[in-house]
């Protein structure tokens, strides 16, 4: 059970390599020959995935053109735990009082957050879980923090409206949620959003944070945002990140949202 060694999937004995796989192929499952061919095709795929031996334990024709398969088998791939790079959370999770304190002492004003569900996404439960007082998983949301001002624009917000509002509110950070991922809608929308902030506000742009259950947290850079939060995020993590990115790094000369220079100076 070493954390750096080589492991294999475990069915019921160490190293047995057992996995379960299911998929559909666009092949018919009618007469005997078709069935044999379909199972052969399924086994070919399993073999290409590295399963040997592989066993088709279930095959079911769905309509005249498709067959669903369940396959069990053994893979010989090794999982090298030392090659797993875990990006440690780059900031500590702080209690709410500490978040408030740091904001007050460093900024001397409230930190302004604008949140929205952009595009045609109407799934607000996730972003509300982060923003609303009610919060999530027993943690209060950002509205509960005395030193954070939250502007929740709700759902289906167009990028143009979001940029305008963020500018008007002198937002330190913009939080957008994307739940619908079909045809990569979340990626398209996030890219569009970050591009608009860049072209609209340039170096004055606020910190950009995206979140949603099917994001890959490692994709922030690629999508042009500063940070991505995935499934199960809690408000405290988000608040702590904001402090880390916008407040704590202020003095050590880290990245500063330039909009704040202005607002702070005003």
């Amino acid at each position: 059970m070493s954390l750096t060694g080589i492991v294999r999937p475990y069915g019921d004995t160490t190293g047995d390599g057992r996995v379960q796989l299911s998929f559909t192929l666009p092949v018919p499952f009618g007469d005997e020959t078709e069935r044999a061919r379909a199972e052969g095709a399924a086994l070919q795929l399993a073999a290409k995935m590295g399963m040997d031996p592989a066993m088709v334990v279930h095959a079911k024709g769905m309509g005249p053109d498709f067959t669903f398969f369940i396959v069990y088998g053994r893979v010989s791939h090794l999982v090298d735990l030392s090659a797993v790079t875990v990006t440690e959370r780059e900031f500590p999770v702080l209690p709410a009082a500490e978040v408030n304190l740091r904001i007050r002492s460093a900024l001397g004003r409230k930190l302004v957050v604008v949140g929205a569900c952009i595009g045609t996404d109407a799934h607000t439960v996730g972003i509300d879980a982060i923003l609303n007082v009610k919060g999530h998983a027993g943690e209060k949301g950002l509205e509960y923090y005395r030193e954070i001002k939250v502007v929740n624009m709700g759902s289906q917000v167009s990028v143009a409206d979001l940029v305008a509002r963020a500018a008007a509110e002198h937002a330190d950070a913009v939080l957008v949620s994307q739940v619908v991922t079909q045809r990569d809608a979340h990626l398209t929308n996030t890219r569009e959003m970050s591009a608009a902030f860049r072209s609209g506000l340039g170096s004055q742009r606020p910190l950009l944070v995206a979140g949603g259950p099917r994001f890959d947290p490692a994709a922030a850079h690629e999508l042009g945002v500063d940070k991505i939060f995935g499934r199960g995020t809690t408000p405290g993590e988000v608040a702590s990140y904001l402090v880390h990115a916008l407040v704590s790094q202020r003095d050590p000369g880290g990245w500063l949202p330039p909009g704040k220079e202005r607002a702070g100076a005003a």
Binding site: T24, F68, T120, A122, T124, V125, V180, Q182
Partner: protein, 518 residues
Amino acid sequence: MTGKLNLDPAVVAQARELARLAGQPVTDLARTHTTVSVERAMLRLAGLDGADEDGMPWVNRLTDAIRETTGLEHGVALPAWDAMIAGGYPDLRTLAVDAAAGLAKFRLPMGADAGLAREHATRSVGAGVALIDQRRAERDRMIAATCDPPMPWIYLIVATGDIYEDIPQAQAAAREGADIIAVIRSTGQSLLDYVPEGATREGYAGTYATRENFRLMRAALDDVSRELGRYVRLTNYASGLCMPEIAALAGLERLDMMLNDCMYGIIFRDINPVRTFIDQRFSRQVHARAGIVINTGEDNYLTTADAVDAAHTVVVSQLLNEYFGREAGLADAQLGLGHAFEINPEVPDSFLLELAHAQLIRELFPDAPLKYMPPTKHMTGNVFAGYLLDAFFNLAGVMTDQSILLIGMMTEGIHTPFLSDRDLALENVRYVRRAAGKLGGSFRPEPDGFVAQRARQVLGEATGLLRTIGSQGLLNAIAAGTFGVTRRPADGGRGLDGVVERAPGYFNPAADMMEADQ
């Protein structure tokens, strides 16, 4: 359905009366206002179809042109047919093309001109309404020629975004036992203030609702209905900014059921409340005429509110939907009131609570084809747990005699359904129905046991809330976040600019026909 819960009929009658009192002012609003979409729906019934090269439908072009010149407070019918007659236009389409180009002249005709316009308009719209009647008769014939499956009807969703992928998936689902196919709409459609045209292949998480998509899918399901000897119903969404128009198109293309709620657009799409209440009334009148069963959306409340705490808001909304629906001419058999199995599975006795809620609703609305929605909120990436939860939903459905079961997908927490998800979901419900279909007969809650008490408690809370709504006004209650813990002020949301108060002399032959129909 003999009562298993010992509900007090006086309390039930009182709840209904309170719902009527709460809804009446909103009905008055709907009777005295029109919307751009109501007007466009009338034009669609009169046969105006198609779109310009940007894809903007001619009904929009024409309505906008009229609105700019004569305004909408008298309706578009008088100016439109007056202009047709005056300009010698062969049809509405030609008029619309000119109108879009700024070439047509509109005025509010008076006297005999008005009479003539009124007569022509009535004739054209009458042809559309007759077509709806034909479609309804066609449905009856198809059902007679195939067969009407017994309830509960199995309701399944397709959502590829591409009508040509949807079709084989829908047919496959029907072959595996689906009685109803719903084609989910692309995420953004409800916010569009026009109905797209033609067959479409690129929706997000759903396929655009267009007349052509309706036609293609209905034809495909007719084929499979004949193949199976069982009539497979088609559902879409009369919801969003174009609710009335989509209702008209559904009637014209023989859809069988439509998602249509008096408040869903308000709460979940941030559409203006007034706009929604006006649009829903007209759309329901059309549905009534077309013999379409509506499905209401109370299930949605339980995705943003807690299913135990907010159980009574579901009942309140159903009573309102019932009131508005009946008022618009829908028969009880057309009121597919919605509710859902959304209690957190970690809650002790969650299944008993679900049974209490489902049985309560069954007894409150004995003649309504209740639509029961599967778990969604507490479906995670654990597809095995999800498959299990869906089975208990199916079981609650058969035990409490629900009419329409929307079949849950084990991958609900992950993606829009795969072909195989749907197939497995059907295997799930088929097993439950076959194995435990008659369990309801042995389900007899103890008279003062957990189930019966819970049901009575929810009914009591519903009555209390209806009383509050009655005194504060429905629009204010919505603004205060009564439904789905979402606040929607009466002057907020999209589409308010499409609402117009009717002037004296307002004329809409479609509205008149529907009203007369009731």
